[in-house]
Structures are given as C-alpha cells and as structure tokens.
C-alpha cells in the first residue's frame, strides 16, 4: 500500500506540475467546452437552431426529440451554444450564403476527429474517461460509428423473432433511443463482433440475444482500464461478481485463480456447449491442465490412486464441490 500511495503521490505531483507550468489548464478547458452562444449574447456568427430548421427540417425534427435538444432548458447550459451549432459551428455564413463549405461538416473527418467533437462535452464523465485509450479509439472506431447524434429510430414494426430481441424502431422504441444509438444492443455490437454470435447461440449462454442482458452490462464500449474493457463490480471485483454474488468471497480457502486470474480462466463467459460454461467439456482435463505437477512446481497435483481417472474421481467437482472457495475445507469439500 505504501508503494501505491507513493506512486499515486508522484503522479499527483506530476499532474499538479503540468497544471502549474502550463498555466492554461483552466482557460483551455473553457475552449474545449461548447462555445459561448454569441447569438444569444447579442451578436456573432451563431444563428440558433431555428434558422437551420428552414432548410434541414427532417434533421431538426428528429434532433428536437433528443437529449441534446434538451440542453437549452438547463440552467448550467445557459450562455453556451447548444443545438446544431454546438457541433457544426457558427452557421451565419452558411445560412446566408448557402455554401456547404461555410459550415463544419463531418463527412470528410476521421473517426478520431469526429470523436473529439463529441468528447469536448462528454469526455469528463466516468464512463467516457478512457475513450482516448480504449480499444475502439485504438482501432479508429469513433462515436458516430455507433451513435446517431441527430436522430431517433425509424422503420416499421415488421415480423421478427419471438425469442431474440429485434431491432428497435419508431413503433417500438427501446433504450437505444435514449442513448442515440444507431441500432439497439446487441445488434449494434454484433455488427462488428460477429465472432461471438455462435457462443450466444450455444446451448448454454448468457441471455444477451434474448434481451435480458446487454453487452454493455459487462463491457464499457467507451474504454476502460480493464482488459476487454470489462466493467468492475463492487469495488475492484470482476464484472461477473455483480450478478454471481455468492462467488465474491472472500473465502478462508480461496481457489487462487478466482481473484488472481479471473473467472475466464475456467469459464467462457459468452456461451458454450459445455455445462457451466466451462472451457473444457471434461472437468478433469480442465483441472489437470493446472494441477499436474510434472516437476514439483505450480498447483497441487492430485495424489495417489484415489484420483484414478478411470473412476468416479474423474469428476473433480463431484467431491471438490466448493471449487470457488470454502471457509472450512482446504480442498473445497464442503
């Protein structure tokens, strides 16, 4: 703990020094926030969203139902540009001359540049803090690859699966509508991550396609410090613990991988043919992969003939029932 405090202390000093010596943290931050509403302040190049409406009626109509449009009502946003010009910049020249070059367009911007526009407001939230170091950023996936800042879902409610969650549409809105997603989960995520589809169609799987869970229940699509951008459960525990509370422990005798390696050391979280979502179909082979001490190092090896793999003891968890952890048995018998 001392070392951690030392490291964090040093980090704090470094950050402090940066602020001190750059001497422009505060003023620059204002720059990255939405610009002042010059139009509302009595002049400038901002004309307000109503002017945009004259030509871009469909976009305006869709936008007016979004949470972005709500900002005008909020006191802390008074005096700041909201609406179309918050992202597209001042529209006076564009509206007067009708020249597409006189307004900020995102058509020719890179994903990262587009994302920077969004991050000007959204970066400070815990959920988005690590976007600039996340997997999506790294692979040049930007905000508008998933979100539609203008709109709400469209489309008819046609026939669809009774089991698997169908796409949201204008007649059946879901939470994608609130988060301005282009398509609801899980379809949005599976559009790129199609490699996990078979797992979610395996006999045992987490009920994501059925709509009872969402990809974002376990993963933070906006980045994070954790591997695979998983979320943390209570404190610093793995995301799995949020629902599987009985595995949280701590246990007097804890199966070491539970906390040191994580659940995925033995389980495949998305889905599997194997019972209990185990990595292997035969429990003994899964266990022996670690508990096989050819040279007297590593995890404890099953001893003697009572672990005959040709007998009932091939089912390791038949006896080692409390395999995640026990308060009374070092070998997890009870």
């Amino acid at each position: 703990v001392k070392n951690i405090i030392r490291v964090l202390g040093v980090a704090g000093l470094v950050i402090g020094a940066i602020f001190l010596f750059t001497g422009q943290g505060s003023s620059q931050r204002v720059d990255s926030a939405p610009p002042k509403a010059a139009a509302q302040l009595g002049g400038g190049d901002y004309v307000g969203s109503d002017t945009c409406k004259d030509c871009h009626e469909d976009q305006f109509k869709a936008f007016s139902h979004t949470s972005h449009a709500e900002l005008t009502k909020i006191s802390s946003w008074k005096g700041k540009v909201t609406g179309c010009e918050a992202c597209h910049g001042p529209g006076k020249a564009h509206s007067e001359e009708g020249d597409p070059a006189k307004i900020i367009s995102f058509k020719n911007k890179s994903s990262k540049d587009i994302s920077e526009t969004c991050l000007a407001c959204h970066a400070g939230k815990e959920e988005h803090n690590n976007f600039r170091r996340g997997e999506h950023w790294r692979n040049d996936i930007g905000c508008t690859d998933c979100h539609s800042p203008h709109g709400e879902p469209t489309g008819l409610n046609l026939a669809s699966s009774i089991t698997f969650k169908s796409r949201a549409n204008a007649q059946k809105p879901d939470f994608s509508f609130l988060h301005l997603l282009k398509v609801g989960e899980p379809q949005l995520c599976l559009g790129c991550h199609s490699e996990v589809k078979p797992a979610f169609n395996a006999p045992f799987h987490h009920k994501v396609l059925e709509g009872a869970m969402k990809c974002s229940d376990c993963h933070n699509p906006h980045g994070g410090f954790e591997l695979k951008q998983t979320r943390l459960a209570t404190g610093a525990d793995a995301a799995c613990i949020k629902c599987h509370a009985d595995k949280q422990g701590p246990f007097t005798y804890e199966h070491a991988p539970l906390k040191t390696e994580g659940c995925s050391a033995c389980h495949t979280p998305h889905g599997s043919s194997n019972p209990r979502l185990l990595r292997f179909s035969a429990t003994d082979q899964l266990c022996l992969t670690c508990h096989s001490v050819a040279h007297d190092v590593g995890a404890i090896e099953p001893s003697g003939p009572q672990h005959n793999q040709n007998a009932q003891y091939a089912n390791c968890t038949a006896c080692h029932v409390k395999i995640h952890g026990s308060h009374t048995s070092p070998v997890f018998f009870r």
Partner: protein
C-alpha cells in the same frame, strides 16, 4: 423439494408422452380459442375500418412509409405516447430428453407477455418528466424476464431501473455423473445414467435502481443507487467424507444488497467522479435431510441416519472509487482512478450427523461396523480482503495526427482468512464407545497479490482513411501464499510446517495494427499482439501468445454490407519454469475463428441477413495423472497429454419480407454444429497416454412468423419455433437428444402507431 427429486429420477417414455399431452392440451385449447377470437377481431376490425389501407396506390405509399422517417406518436395530454405490447400463448411439445431441454431452453407452454415497449414524451416540457420509457420481455412462460424503466427530466433528475429474473434448471447426465464410468457390480445402487449429481432448479432475481440528480448539469451531478440480488432454490451437492461420497439436497438461499452514493462534476479544469458503496451479502443456505437418508453410492460402507448443515455467512464490501480527468491545453488527456475496497466475510459452519459404518479415517479408531452416535463440526471463520487498484492514463496529442499514450496500473490485495476448528465424533462398536474431539484449532491462510502493469502506445492518423497504432506492455506480478496453524485432515491434528510460497512473473508484450479504407465503402481493421502474459493454464509460467485479428467490412451501397473476419490465437508455453525445460511441461492452445456475414436489404420490403462462422480450437497440455485398468490392481501414473478440440460450424439466415401491405413474414434458421475430436480416441494407457475430450453436437433452431395487420392498433402474429439438439454418443452415457416444437400466436397492440 419433492418435485425436484422427481425431476432427477428417470422419466420413462410413457410418462413423457403423458406429460407432453398434458402440457399441450391446455395451451392448444387456449390457442384455438384465441384463434377464434382473433378471427372475430379481424372481421370486426375490417368492418370498422373506414379506409384502413391506402387507396389508389398502396405500393407507393408502403414504400414511402418504409423508407422515410415515421412520425409515430399519439397525444395523451401534455405527452406523446408510443407504445406496443405483445401478448399471446405458446404451446410446447418436447420429444427426447426433457432434462436437457429444460437445461438448455426451459421455455414453457402458456400465456405470456412476449415483450412491451412504452414511451411517453413531453410536448411542452411541462409535467413531472420529459420522457418515460419502459420495456420488458420474457414474462410469463420464459425462464428469463426483464423490465427496464427510464424516467427523466433532464434538468432535474434521471431514474434508471432494471429488474431481471432468471430461472436455472440444470440436470445433465454428462456432468458430475460418476456412475457414467464407474458402476462396480458390488454396488447395490444401480448405475444411473439419467442425470449427474449436481442438478439444480434455482432462481435469481436482481435489480439496479439508480437515481441521478441534475443529470445534464455541466458542473455537478449526484447519484444514488441500489442493486439487490436474490438467489434461491434446491440444488444437489456431494459430501466427500472419509472416503465416502454422499449426495445431499441443499437449499440455496443467498442475498446481496448493494448501496451506493456518488457525485461527479467539474472543478476548474478537473472532471471528477467519486462514489462510495457498500455491498452486504448473506448466505443462509442449509441442508437438512429430515426423514430422507443421505444417498451413499456404496451403502455397504457408510450412510447417514440424520444430517444437518448450516453455514450462516455474513459478508460486506465497503468500496470507494475516485476518478479524475482533465484535458490540458487540448494536448494532454489525463485520467486517474483509484478504487479501494475492504471486503470481509464472517461465517459459522455447523454440521451434525449420525449414521452407521463410518470410516475410521473420520471417526478415529473404531472401524466398521459401527454406529456414529454424533459427528459434529463447529467452525467459525473470518476473512478480510483489502484491495486497492490504481490507474493512471495519459494521452499526449503530439501533433494533430500523432498521439502517445501511457497507462499505468497497480493492483494490490491481501486475503487473510482464519478458521477455528471444533470437531467431535462419538462412535460405538458393540459395547465400546469412543469419542474423539478437539477445540479451537486454528488455520490461517493468507494470499498476497501485487501487480504492476504499464502500457505505452502510439497512434498515427495518415488521413481519414488510414491510421496505425502500436504499443508495448510490461507486467510484473507477485503472489505469495502463506499457511500456518494445524493440519486438520485427521482426528489427531498436528501443527503444519508453515508454508510460504512466492511466485513472481515478469511479462512483455508488443502490439500494433491499422485501419485502412482503400475504397470509400471498404474498411479493413487489423491488429496483432505478441508477448507473454500471466495465465493459469501455464501453472506459474509466463504464457507466450500471438493473437491476430483482421476484419473487413465492405458496403458497396446502403443496401448491402459484407463482413469478413479472421481471428487467430496461439498460446504456447515453450518457456522455462524454475530451471526446468518445458518440452515436457507445456500447454499449447491454438484457436482459429473465421466469421462472415452478409446483410442485404434487397428492397424496402425484403431483407436478408446471413452468416457463417467456423471456430477451431486445439488444446494440448502435458499432464501426469493416475490411471487404473480394472480388474488389475495396478495403478499407473503416466505422463501424457490432455487434448481438447472444438470444430464448430455456425450458420444463420434471417429474412424479413413484407408480402403484402398487411402481411409481413419472418423466417430464420440457426445451426451450431461441432464435430469435436472427429475420429480421435483417448488412449489413457498409451505411452504417452492421451485424455481427449470435446463436445460434438448439433443444435439447430428454425423459426417462422407471420404478422398480420388487422388494424392500426393491432397485429396478429402466428409463429413457430423448432429446436433440434443432437449430441454424439461420446459426450455422455446416453445422448441427451431432443426435439422441441413451440408454436405460438399473439396479438401486438399499438398506441401511437402512425404511418
């Protein structure tokens, strides 16, 4: 409890047929009634609709409706409502293994609310909320139901609630089924291949309720949250005691409540977020055999005449999270986070048993035949686990196109457990009674963990179409395990020689990749990573891996998109542990995943989506194991290989067609077909020996649905789902194959439906 026991017992074919008939009769009766009702409604709706369908040019208007944004919504005072819900009835007919069907799917026949969506949106900003959205699915006859609610008035509050319920039923013959491969003739209990010994029929309910005050405020936001979780139900477990194995029915009952409060906002240039949480956990599971004697697989040796166990556990996790973020001069993005949690668990394990013919390994000296007058364990335990996690991520925008990031992490935790053992055994044999007991013998187990990890990476953007990234990761991990106290595996415990084992790893990894858009409608993603990581499957050694991922997305126009991906993972362990060569101690896991998909909106009225995936896994671990070839009493201890194979093909096809203005049709087909190990057979007595496993099976599910628009407010749906599961005979003692037919009919009712 009786019901559960019944489930576990083999159900013969005639019972199954009877069960099927009874399962089907009622829903089918309801189904036919509903059909009649629907026919009436349909007729009535047609009669009452003045001009339900577009008059002169239906095709044109339908096409427009499908392509243009739809103005949905119906006035309700100051609000606009858009809502629909689907309610109906489903039939069920299962042939084959019911236990496996219920373990996989567990959908029942009956009336159910298939799904619902309800959105209220303000028109003028007045009223207690601006939006209210509630969605649900799977209520009634489904094993998984969920309800999500969001209520929001952005300038004041946002309330998010989720409630979910899952029913778990697992009785499988290929899991924890000792009799599958072990059924000596001397046992009076016949081999029972129907299910394994760890079946359960449990239920989890969980919720998340979060209130955010001033959710859109640019300066401060406050949050309070509550997440309850309840888990309960009967479950079979085993008790391995002194060489005997008892099968027990336990009653699981755990609950957790997570409370949290937090704030986030901005002070000067710093965005901050702080959260304080407390999770309380309790476990009140118990076992009470009552009048039912414990089942011992070998009753000639030992059996219970009574047995009770409670392990009252109370746990808590007190946790604090602080995050800060700043973007300095539009050049430096800094995020820091520290999470500290303090988890504790207190339990008292109390077990009382009586029985006959107990092994002297448990009871002391009196060998069977004997009577266990009383066996008793009383073991209080106390465990603490402080855990600290610190992260700092810094991204420097060196130029408009070049960025460098560094992420540093340190994690530290220590699990300190202490249990105090009190054992008592009183055994009689004939006139002799012997009592063995000890009190207050402690065991202390400590695990200390610390890991540092640093990732340095950069990315360069050539232009909007091309970018690359590259990086290096270093990790250092130290785990120490300490054991002191007494060895309690006999009734004559002795102090253990204190154990203190330390394992240290240092790992390095390099990664890189690119995004390329050679054409405006074709994007390629590629990344690769090579290095070493900590992994349990290499015991204590580093884990050399090479992972490659390539994805291609081609969308020649708005109607078609074609995706391809290839993911390879090679995880080998050719390194060295403790000076020992790993040529005979290695683990080698390779996987190859190919995935493809095609989405095609042929016309506004017809769309297809199809895909094919292939997943190939080879796992080869060098192991040593004990193996006995009956009837010879020779136990071998060979070194060999543990092999595991996956050869899974997955294909799906979805299609949606608007057959006529009032008729739309959906059909899909999905199949997972795993060929597993193919013709390879295990050779446990070979030199070297091999243990082989895989799960060859075939799981397919076609589905079709016809939706008929009866009225602006009403659709009638009829549909059918079919599941066919078939597994190879090598998977278990008897293939758990089944076919399930699930016809249904339903009505979807709309409010605010406009076209």
């Amino acid at each position: 409890m009786e019901t559960t026991l019944d489930i576990r017992v083999a159900v013969d074919e005639s019972q199954r047929m009877e069960h099927m008939r009874s399962t089907l009769e009622k829903p089918l009766r309801i189904l036919s009634g509903l059909m009649l009702l629907l026919t009436l409604v349909f007729g009535l709706a047609n009669a009452q609709q003045p001009s339900p369908s577009p008059s002169s040019s239906p095709k044109k208007s339908e096409a427009k409706a499908a392509s243009a944004p739809i103005e949905a919504g119906e006035d309700l005072g100051n609000y606009t409502v858009i809502s629909s819900f689907e309610v109906g009835v489903r039939g069920l007919k299962v042939r084959g293994d019911h236990n496996k069907y219920k373990s996989d799917l567990n959908s029942n026949a009956g009336v159910r609310l298939f799904d619902s969506s309800f959105l209220l949106r303000t028109k003028d900003g007045k009223g207690p909320f601006d939006t209210l959205l509630a969605t649900s699915s799977g209520w009634g006859a489904d094993p998984h139901g969920n309800l999500r609610i969001n209520v929001e008035k952005p300038q004041w509050y946002r309330f998010d609630a989720t409630y979910r319920r899952f029913k778990y039923f697992r009785f499988l013959n290929n899991f924890v089924n000792p009799n599958w491969i072990f059924s000596p003739t001397s046992f009076s209990v016949p081999p029972n291949p129907v299910t394994g010994e760890h079946g359960y029929n449990t239920k989890t309910e969980m919720g998340d309720f979060d209130l955010t005050i001033l959710p859109k405020n640019d300066r401060f936001r406050f949050t309070v949250g509550f997440s309850p979780e309840r888990y309960s139900g009967p479950a079979f477990t085993n008790y391995h005691l002194g060489g005997n194995e008892f099968n027990l029915l336990s009653n699981l009952r755990t609950r957790a409540n997570d409370f949290r409060i937090g704030a986030d906002g901005k002070v000067g240039p710093i965005d901050f977020s702080v959260m304080q949480g407390l999770r309380l956990f309790r476990d009140d599971s118990f076992i009470d055999l009552g009048a039912t004697k414990g089942i011992n697989l070998n009753p000639a040796v030992a059996s219970f005449t009574s047995f009770t166990r409670t392990e009252r556990t109370r746990g808590s996790v007190d946790y604090t999270r602080l995050s800060i973020h700043s973007f300095v001069a539009k050049k430096l993005d800094i995020t820091g986070r520290i999470v500290h949690s303090s988890a504790s668990s207190n339990s008292v394990f109390i077990e009382n048993m009586t029985g006959v013919n107990f092994s002297s390994r448990i009871t002391g000296q009196l060998a069977p035949p004997n009577v266990l007058i009383l066996g008793q364990y009383n073991i209080p335990a106390n465990v603490n686990r402080p855990n600290t996690l610190g992260d700092i991520g810094v991204t420097w925008f060196a130029t408009d196109r070049f960025r460098v990031s560094n992420t540093f992490r340190v994690e530290d935790f220590e699990i300190s457990g202490m249990a105090l053992f009190n054992d008592l055994f009183t055994v009689s044999r004939g006139a002799v009674t012997d009592t063995r007991a000890f009190n207050n013998l402690n065991v202390n187990k400590t695990t200390k963990y610390r890991k540092y990890q640093n990732t340095l990476e950069g990315d360069y953007q050539f232009n909007k179409n091309y970018s690359i990234h590259f990086g290096y990761r270093y990790g250092s991990r130290r785990i120490e395990q300490i054991l002191t106290g007494f060895a309690l595996n006999t009734n004559a415990p002795v102090p253990v020689v204190p154990e203190d084992e330390v394992q240290t790893n240092h790992t390095n990894a390099f990664f890189g990749g690119f995004k390329a858009r050679p054409l405006s409608n074709w994007t390629i993603y590629f990344d690769a990573e090579h290095g070493a990581a900590d992994n349990v499957f290499t015991r204590i050694g580093n884990y050399n891996y090479t992972n490659i991922r390539a994805k291609s997305r081609y969308a020649p126009n708005r109607k078609v998109s074609f995706n391809l991906a290839l993911i390879t993972k090679d995880n080998a362990n050719p390194s060295e542990i403790a000076g020992v060569s790993l040529t005979d101690f290695g683990v080698d896991i390779k996987s190859r995943t190919f995935t493809s998909s095609l989405d095609w909106a042929a016309t506004p009225k017809l769309s297809f989506s199809a895909g094919y995936n292939y997943n190939w896994v080879n796992s080869d671990a060098v192991i040593d194991y004990f193996y006995q070839v009956p009837p010879a009493a020779s136990v071998r201890h060979p070194a060999g290989h543990s092999l595991y194979f996956v050869r899974n093909n997955y294909f799906y096809l979805d299609t949606v067609a608007q057959l006529a203005p009032r008729f739309s049709f959906y059909a899909s087909y999905r199949i997972n077909k795993d060929n597993g190990q193919g013709n390879q057979l295990a050779d446990p007595t070979g030199s070297p020996g091999t243990l082989i496993s895989s799960y060859p099976m075939n799981f397919q599910s076609p589905e079709a649905r016809l939706a008929i628009k009866l009225h602006r407010r009403l659709d009638w749906n009829i549909g059918y789902q079919y599941y066919n599961y078939k597994e190879s005979p090598i998977v278990g003692p008897r293939p758990q194959n089944y076919h399930a037919h699930l016809p249904y009919t339903s009505l979807r009712v709309y409010f605010g439906r406009k076209e």
